[in-house]
Amino acid sequence: MIDLAQFYDIRFLMDLGAFSILAVLILGFSILTVWSSNMVHAALYLLGAFASVAMLYVSLNASFVGVVQVLVYIGAVGVLILFAVMLTRRTLVEEESHG
């Protein structure tokens, strides 16, 4: 498992730091996606999760998969989600909230 002696190595700490930041981002965005009651917010959080996962791939030396993740997930699926969310609302703009 984890060798405690590694913790004194700055390179390991850098890796661990990058990983933890990305992990927190991914998990946080996922949780927000599930919990958010506003559909558009949920979709935007999901895009954030996708982008963080893409960064994770790049940090794993899989930059091609990362770029494909951005291209397909954010560029295509994300926009598809946004369209679906907007098309399944009652109105395009919340009329009653106009001042």
């Binding site: 390991f12 661990l16 992990a23 998990l27 599930v34 996708f50 996962v53 899989a62 993740q69 699926v77």
Partner: protein, 100 residues
Amino acid sequence: MVPLVLYVLLASTMFVIGLYGLLTQRNGIKLMMCVEILLNSAIINLVAFSAYLPNVNGQVFALFAIALAAAEAGVGFAIMIALYRLYGTIELDNINALRW
């Protein structure tokens, strides 16, 4: 390098979050989003294992999975929009034509 177990933990946590959403949410679009989270957690595993084994098979599988996920999303959202046109809602509790 960070131990592999952390990646597996991350992926499984993400999977659990997605599964939780899938079981509790009743909005069709939200369900699709949770499915996307599930797929992403699976792909994280593939890429992480391929980085720790010295080969790229996992990445190739990941690319396949991404392409499949995109196709799935296209079909899924098309169905959701069709349901919305038919029923005027995407709350799945109200869409019960296939339950009878």
